[in-house]
Amino acid sequence: MKELRGIGVASGRTVGPVAAMPPPVGEPAEDGELSEGSDREAAVVLLDSSSSTVGAELSARAQTARQAGRDDAAEVLEATAMMALDATLLGDAKARIGQGSRPERAVWDAAQHVAEQLSSLGGYMAERVRDVQDVRDRLVAALTGRPAPGIPVRDQPYVLVARDLAPADTATLDPSKVAALVTEQGGPTSHTAILARALGLPAVVAVAGATDLADGTWVLVDGAQGTVVIDPTAEQRSTAGAKVQGQTSLQAVGATSDGHRVRLYANVGDPSGVEAAVAAGAEGVGLFRTEFCFLDRAEAPSVDEQVMAYERVFAAFSGRRVVVRTLDAGADKPLPFVTADGEPNPALGVRGLRTATGSPQVLGDQLTAIARAAAGSGAEVWVMAPMVATAEEARAFTDQAHEAGLPTAGVMVEIPSAALTADLVLAACDFASIGTNDLAQYTMAADRQLGALAALNDPWQPALLQLIAMTAEAGARTGRPVGVCGEAAADPLLACVLVGLGVTSLSMTPRALPAVGAALAELSQARCVQLSKAAVSSESPIVARESVASILNETP
C-alpha cells in the first residue's frame, strides 16, 4: 500500500478509480510532408479507422444519454458522431493528404475550413463551430494515439486527477460523475479548491506524483487528511463514506467571510420556476421576467390575467423581495402588439422600455397588475424597466411606477450610456440591476447570439467589469442598491469579483446559488476587492481569470 500526500482542501473520504485529465489537443505542426505512394495510402486508412472509432465512441455516448432520458444531450452527441464520419470533412482531409499533409494536419485544416464557413453564416450555424472544433480535437487525438480531450467520460464515478484544472475545465465538470479531485498543482485557496468545496467534492491539491497514477488505479481520497491511498485495502475502503453530496440549497444568507452582506437572489422566468427558487433557498427573486405572460399571443393579456400569474410568484416569496422586470419585448423576443417588424437592427431597435412609447397602455396595464398582485401578498415587490438609456427615461418610468402604487422602482443597466451616467440615472430612480448579458453585447458591439463573437461577450471582459464598477460606485455615492442579474452572477469566482466591485446583490439561476454562496463565504470583502482590481485591470478575460486564480493560489 502506497500513499501520496498533499493538502486537503475539501473534506470527505471517498474511493474510486483514477481518470486522468488529458492534456489539451494543440494545433499539429505543419512540417513533415508525406511522400507519395504508400505513406499517403496508409494515412488515408488511418484517417478512416480513426473516424470510425471517434464516431462509434460518440454514438455510444449518445445512446447512454438517450437511455438516461437526456434527449437534448443525445441529439447533440448524435450530430457530433455524424460529423466525425462526415463525407465532406473526410473528403477534404483526404484531398489534403493526397497533397502530402500528415493526417492530423489534414483534419485540422479541413475542420478549420468548415468552421470558417459556419462562422460566416452567423447565428445558429456559428454556434456549431465549437462542435466542429470538438470533433476535430477528438479526431486529432485519435490519429496521434492520445486520449480524447476534455473532462474524461466514464460510466461510473471516478477520481479526477489533473496537473491543474483550468476554470474552463471545472465549468464542464459533472459532480455526479466525479467522486473526488486530485491535482498536482494548486493550493488551499486556489479556484479548484473553492469550486470543490462549493460542489461538495473531496479534494486534495499539491499532490506530488499525482499525474503518474495510471488510469483505472483505485485510490482512496481523504480530503480532510490530504492523503491519496493507492490500492486501498478492503478495510480502508470500508472507511470511505458515500460521496458528500454538494449542497442543493443556500446554507446561510449571502455574506463574505467577514460578514459583508450580499443578497443572493434567484432569476425566475415564469411562475413554474418559483419552486426551484424556493428550494434553492433564494433570499428573494432578483429578476422576475414577465414575458411568459405575453409570448405566443396576438393581443396583450388582460390586467386580471396578469394579476393571477404574478400573485403565484409573490405568494411563494411572502416576506421576501421580488424584483419584477416589466415586459422586455423586441429583438429576439418580438411581440405583435408592441414591436415592429422589419427593423434593420432589432437589438438596437424599439425594445424593452422603448416599446412603451408606441404602446403606453401595455406598460400602464402591467404596472397596475403588478401593484394589484403585490397588495396583500406579503412580498416586498420592486419593479424595474429593461433597456433604459438615459436618466430621463429612468425618471419617467419611476414616476409612473410610483403613481401606480409601486413604491420602489428602478432600472436595468444594460446599455453603456446608463452605466456612464449612473449617478444621474440612480438619482432618478430607487435602484439599479445590471443585466450583464446585454451590457456585454452593447459594450463590445457584439451580437450575443453570434457564436463567432462569443469571446467578446465573455462576462470577464475588463470593459464590462469597468462599467459594472462605475455603476456600483455610483450606487454607493447615491445610496442606491446596485445588483447584477446576468450570467456573470452565476460564476462563483466572478461573483466574488462583482462583490469586490461593490455590487450589493447577485441574482442567478437557482441551481447556481449554493456554489456562489459557498464561494463568497470563503473570502473576505477586502479579498474580493483585491480580486476585482486584478480582474478589471487585466488585458483580456483569459488574463483576468488567470490573475484571479493566481492571487488565490499564491497569497492565502
Partner: protein, 94 residues
C-alpha cells in the same frame, strides 16, 4: 441528371435535428444525392453539397422557405430523389 425541387418546410431550416435526419436518410440511399440552394431572392446560389454530409448541409444554410434542388444519377436515382424531396417538404423539427 434527374433533379427534383422542393421547399424547406422545417421551421429552423435544414439545421440541427432536421439536418441530422435528412443526412441520415440520404446516406441510406443507393445513389449519391446532392443538394443545392438556388433561386432564393437576395442570396447567392450555394452548393451543391453531398446530401448525406451533415457538415455540407450546415454550410449550405438552407432556411425555412428556401427552394433547394436535389440531384442524383444512376439506378434508383428517381426513388431516392422522391424520398428526399418528401423529407425536405416536411417539418422535421415538429
Amino acid at each position: 441528371m434527374p433533379e427534383r425541387r422542393a421547399v424547406v418546410a422545417s421551421k429552423v431550416g435544414l439545421h440541427a435535428r432536421p439536418a441530422a435526419l435528412f443526412a441520415k436518410a440520404a446516406a441510406e440511399q443507393t445513389v449519391t444525392v446532392t443538394i443545392a440552394v438556388t433561386g432564393v431572392e437576395g442570396t447567392q446560389d450555394r452548393g451543391p453539397v453531398d446530401a448525406s454530409s451533415i457538415l455540407g448541409l450546415m454550410t449550405l444554410g438552407a432556411k425555412h422557405g428556401d427552394e433547394v434542388v436535389l440531384a442524383a444519377e444512376g439506378e434508383g436515382a428517381e426513388s431516392a430523389l422522391e424520398t428526399l424531396a418528401e423529407l425536405v417538404a416536411q417539418d422535421l423539427d415538429a
